[in-house]
Symmetry: C2
Subunit: 177 residues, 2 copies
């Protein structure tokens, strides 16, 4: 259900084609959302049928970009007012509940792998903060400021999980588990 709002949110910043959207998700909000192109084209079709997006420009190779409509903006604002409840499933931590089946070395090795994973993500998000271009003149930078706010949540999360994983691996090795 949220894919449609991820799309609307992205189009609210700037019109885009399905192709663009997949790449934008991947570049900017891949730590909270992503989409396969199959899903995006399907959802764009539905959004158009609902009148939430409108064809914007056509380009070479059948390129078709879309813009958000007024109704689409209303729907997006409405969604922002609806508090989300259930938080995400987490496959990585789910495994920790079964780690007692492995011996201490193997369990600690899993936690090491987790730490490596978190370290990599953290580095990537941090570089994204540094490399982020100053917002285009012409926009007021407000959207960009909130992008950075969201990104800082991602960074805080990865940092915390990295510390947790390192400490957990240490505990398991020390037999404190």
């Amino acid at each position: 259900m949220s894919l449609r709002f991820a799309i609307l949110g992205s189009l609210a910043v700037q019109p885009a084609s399905g192709y663009d959207l997949v790449k934008r998700f991947d570049k900017t909000l891949n730590f909270v959302w992503w989409a396969s192109h199959g899903a995006v084209y399907t959802e764009l079709g539905k959004l158009q049928a609902d009148g939430f997006v409108e064809p914007h420009e056509t380009g070479p190779r059948g390129r078709q970009s879309f813009a958000i409509s007024d109704a689409g903006q209303d729907a997006l604002r409405e969604w922002l007012r609806t508090p989300a409840v259930r938080h995400a499933r987490d496959d990585l931590i789910l495994r920790v509940f079964s780690l007692w089946l492995l011996d201490d070395d193997a369990a600690a090795a899993y936690l090491d792998d987790l730490a490596t994973e978190f370290r990599g993500r953290l580095a990537e998000y941090e570089s994204r903060v540094r490399d982020e271009p100053a917002p285009d003149s012409g926009t007021d930078g407000r959207a960009h400021a909130f992008d950075q706010l969201a990104l800082s949540a991602g960074i805080a999360h990865e940092r915390t999980m990295l510390a947790w994983a390192e400490d957990a691996a240490r505990q398991v090795r020390a037999g404190e588990d």
Copy 2:
């Protein structure tokens, strides 16, 4: 795909019925996983067909509990060796990317709501640590130790996100966003 391993992991600790599993998920690993009873019964059927679980006991009201089989334990251990890659979608943070559409007061109010949500979860997980009974004599407490390890990840996460949300709301109100 992970539901089957959540089930196997729970059965590895102790045999259970479908009804039990839904409640166990809800009580112990609800911050990383949950399941509707419809999904659980369906998956238990498949697991039995695959030989990963076996009927254990029958009780009143058609109660049927299952135990994990040797093949099921092997599958579970195998899954633990497979590093998970993609991390979870996060609806709550996704909204932050569109918060620039609201005025500062409304955006800050959304962040306040998030903070309240995180505060509630944090309190609940912390009480879970306190109230957790000492592991049954008869088991060696190893499974319990890893439960606590996973729970500590949940606590660290909520604490971090709470601090982030409070700070973000403050920033937005101060017009620093």
